[in-house]
Every structure is written in C-alpha cells, then in structure tokens.
C-alpha cells in the first residue's frame, strides 16, 4: 500500500490490484476510523476524506497503516437479480472481439455471480467484477453520445448498467427494465460496493 497526498482533507491509498482495494474497503467498512466522512474505492485506490474538526490526516495514516486487511475478503452485500434482454447493439461485435458468439457471451455473462467493486462515472454506476469472468473487453473506439438508461454493458474486466441516459464508450450487450438508480428509494443506488449481482436472461421481454 502506498499513501499518496490529496490535499488537507484526504488521503489516497494506492494498491497493486483490485483485490487489495476491496480487502481494505471491507476492513474500513467493518471498522471505520472516527472522522472519516467518505471512503471512495476505485480500481487501484481508496480515497479517504476526513472531517478535520474530528481527526487529522496524520492520525488517519497511522490508523490505516495498522489495519490488516485480509486478502481475498470482499465486502458482500445482498444479492440482486437483474433481468436482461440481451439485444444490445454491440453484442455480436463484442463477442467477435472475444472470439466467441453472442450466445456464448450471454451464457457466460449470466453464469457468473458479479460483485460491485466500486462506483463512479455517474451516480449509481457500479463497476461489477467477477473472479470467473475470463474476458477483457476493449471500449468502443468512438464513444456514443447517448446511451439509453438500463443499458447493460462491458468494458475492461468490468460489467455495468447505465443508471441514466449519458454518453458512454462501453460495449452495449443488453438492457434491463430495472431502475438501478431511483431517487425515490433510500438509498437511491441499487448497485453499491459489495452488492452481489446475477444477470438473468429474460429473452425479449422488456
């Protein structure tokens, strides 16, 4: 773990891989140090934001260095089943890039249990990973200016669901009618770090 400076109210912890990020995030969720306002996991880092009235960055750094996250331990939350119609515009192109066909890609996508590693890009946009997912999916060379909400997509080692209409460069393989971000719900984001996800192929039903 490397501790990198991020101004007078935050520290950025950098790791070699996502597993280490998730192990530390799990440890911090279980036992959050006093005065930590936000914990922001990402692909290789965890940002800790403090309330300087409660704690100091020195104290926080000492606490974090004393933590002993157990590798391989992830925060696991509830299991959410996401119904998907696999008719995405990039399904066959993505399958081709990966050397299989659309059917095989769908079979693999629905066979995994995914876990939300972290969020970012937009409110409620979860980056889902699975230890058994064998693919690295390149992004589209030209991002779309408009991706419809509910689009189920792939990029890199991740899968995701677009919470709202937005621009995006991920490969679209399907769509869901499930609202992954709903402000009338508390919390609004369905896919939060640690949430487990199973994608269910519902054919052509919306």
């Amino acid at each position: 773990m490397r501790v990198l400076p991020s101004g007078t109210t935050a520290l950025l912890l950098e790791f070699d891989n996502l597993d280490q990020v998730l192990a530390l995030y799990a440890a911090l969720t279980e036992d959050r140090p006093d005065g930590v306002v936000d914990v922001v996991p990402a692909a290789r880092t965890v940002l800790l934001v403090i309330d300087p009235a409660v704690t100091s960055l020195v104290a926080l750094e000492t606490t974090v260095r004393r933590m002993s996250p157990r590798p391989g331990v992830r925060r696991t939350g509830e299991l959410v089943e996401v119904p998907v119609t696999y008719d995405g515009q990039d399904l066959s192109a993505a399958a081709e890039l990966l050397g299989c066909d659309g059917e095989e890609l769908v079979r693999r996508h629905t066979a995994q249990e995914w876990t939300v590693a972290f969020c970012g890009f937009a409110p409620g946009f979860g980056y889902l990973t699975s230890p058994d997912w064998p693919y690295e999916v390149p992004r589209r060379s030209t991002p779309r200016t408009r991706v419809p909400p509910g689009s189920v997509a792939l990029a890199g080692e991740f899968s995701g669901v677009y919470p709202r209409e937005s621009p995006g460069g991920w490969q679209l393989i399907g769509r869901t009618s499930m609202a992954v971000f709903d402000l009338s719900r508390e919390p609004a984001a369905l896919l939060r770090p640690g949430t487990r996800v199973r994608f269910v192929d519902v054919g052509l039903r919306p």
Partner: protein, 293 residues
Amino acid sequence: MTLRVVEPGPFTTVQDAGRPGQAAMGIGRSGACDRRSYALANRLVGNDPGAAVLEATFGGLVLRAESVLVVATTGSRCTGPWPHNAPTFLRVGEEVRLGRPVTGVRTYVAVRGGLAVEPVAGSRSTDVLAGLGPAVISAGDVLAVGPAAGPMPGVDLAPVAEPAAGDVVVAVSPGPRADWFPGEAWSVLLSSAYVVTDNSNRIGLRLDGPSLERRRDDELPSEGLVRGAVQIPPSGRPVLFLADHPVTGGYPVLAYVDDDDVDRCAQLRPAQRLRFRRTLPRRDGQPASQVRR
C-alpha cells in the same frame, strides 16, 4: 412562509451543505461553493448550519417576500441599496434586489427558517455535474421557507472581508500524481499566473496559462478526488475542481489547493488571475507523505 423569484439572474441554485458520505455510490458532495460565506449567511439569520440557501452567480437575482421574512446575503456584494452581510427584515411585498457583483461571483441569500424545497438524496443542493437536486432557479418559482430554528444572533452587520478583486494567491501541496510530471511542472505552477477562463462553473475553474506537460502517457485508472484538486487534462491546462467535481477522475492530479483556500477560488471571476504558493508543512495534522518533495 414563501418567497417568490421575480428575476433569477444569470444562474441561481439552491445549495446547502451537500451530500457527504455518499461518494462510494457515485454521488458527490456538491453543496455551496464558498462554504465560509454560506455558513455566515445561515448564522446571520439564526439558521441551523446545514439550512438551504440560494447561491446566485453574477447577481441579478430579485426576490419578493410573500410573508414577513428575515434575509441575509453574504459572499459577493452586489450593486444596489440592499444591505450586505446584514440580517434584514422584509415585509410582505418587499424585495431583495441584487445588482451586479462588485467583487467575486457568488452571493448567498439565506432566509430565516431555511428554504424548504424537497431534498434529493438527503440534500437540497443542485449538483450540476450529476444532475441531482432541485432544478436551477427560474422566474416565477415560489420557494417555501421552513420554521425558524434558533434565536437571531443579535448582530446588525458581519464585518467580513470582501472577495478579492485582483490577483489571488492560494496555498497548494503536491497531489497524488505529482510524480507523473517532470520537476519543472511544479516550478511552473508555483511561478506562473493562471487566468480563470469563462468556461468555469460550479464543477471547476478552467485555467489558462503555461501548459503543464506530464512525462508519462499511460492511462490512469480513475481515482477518487475532492474539491481543490488541480487536475491536468491532456491539453496541459489545469482544472481546479470546486463543489460539483466528479467523484473520481482519470487525469492525473498534480496539486491540491488547501481546503481552506478553495472558498476564495469559488469567488474568482473570469479573467481574474490565480497564483499558487507552496503550503508550509505543519507540525501536526499533515502526514509525512505530504511534507516530502
């Protein structure tokens, strides 16, 4: 109790203390850009610290009291007879009329009782990047005002400094990716004046000045950031993030403005110049990793 928006001015939003604690779900903090002025506005009318106010950018706001109200403005002082930094009683039909900012850009308008608009994800702040929170204020809006929370502070006027008119100097320390840049980049940042462009908003200040080139081309996996981050996009022109910054960013952060100084950055107007000086390492409160270099 209600307040009617007669003229919204160029850009006015409702703001409060924002949405801390939700960044892991991709929801940024947002909230008032100049937190010190925001806090003062609420104090002047006896509100709780997190009460919702109006944040008017470039003045121009006209409000009409539809009940007897107590109002205080802070931050950027605007032209016109309205008393600034001073709690003021309004009778029914009386108006708050803000002209153009004399210095600074953001004026806070607190109403005793706080604005009782519907909260979204725990806050009444408009986050312009995420598209969360109340709609941007427009003419004809009628804003509900909540019940008074505490006693009036018993002051007629808060003698606070006005936002600066000329060059502004703020303290910076190296950011998490300072090592992605040659040593010269840091010297250039500390020795140059950067001009605030009119492409700036609540998300951040886009600065124009000497280009800061990084020395590595690899892609940075997106990582969490907070306000005050000085990010260097491929153009080499720095972006200084303010309240509605993205939760994570994929361009390297060269430096961080001290949180205490970000409020002053939020009052900079286009064409104003910003200079950076090195933060003095403190003996406490600052991690060893931050004092190096």
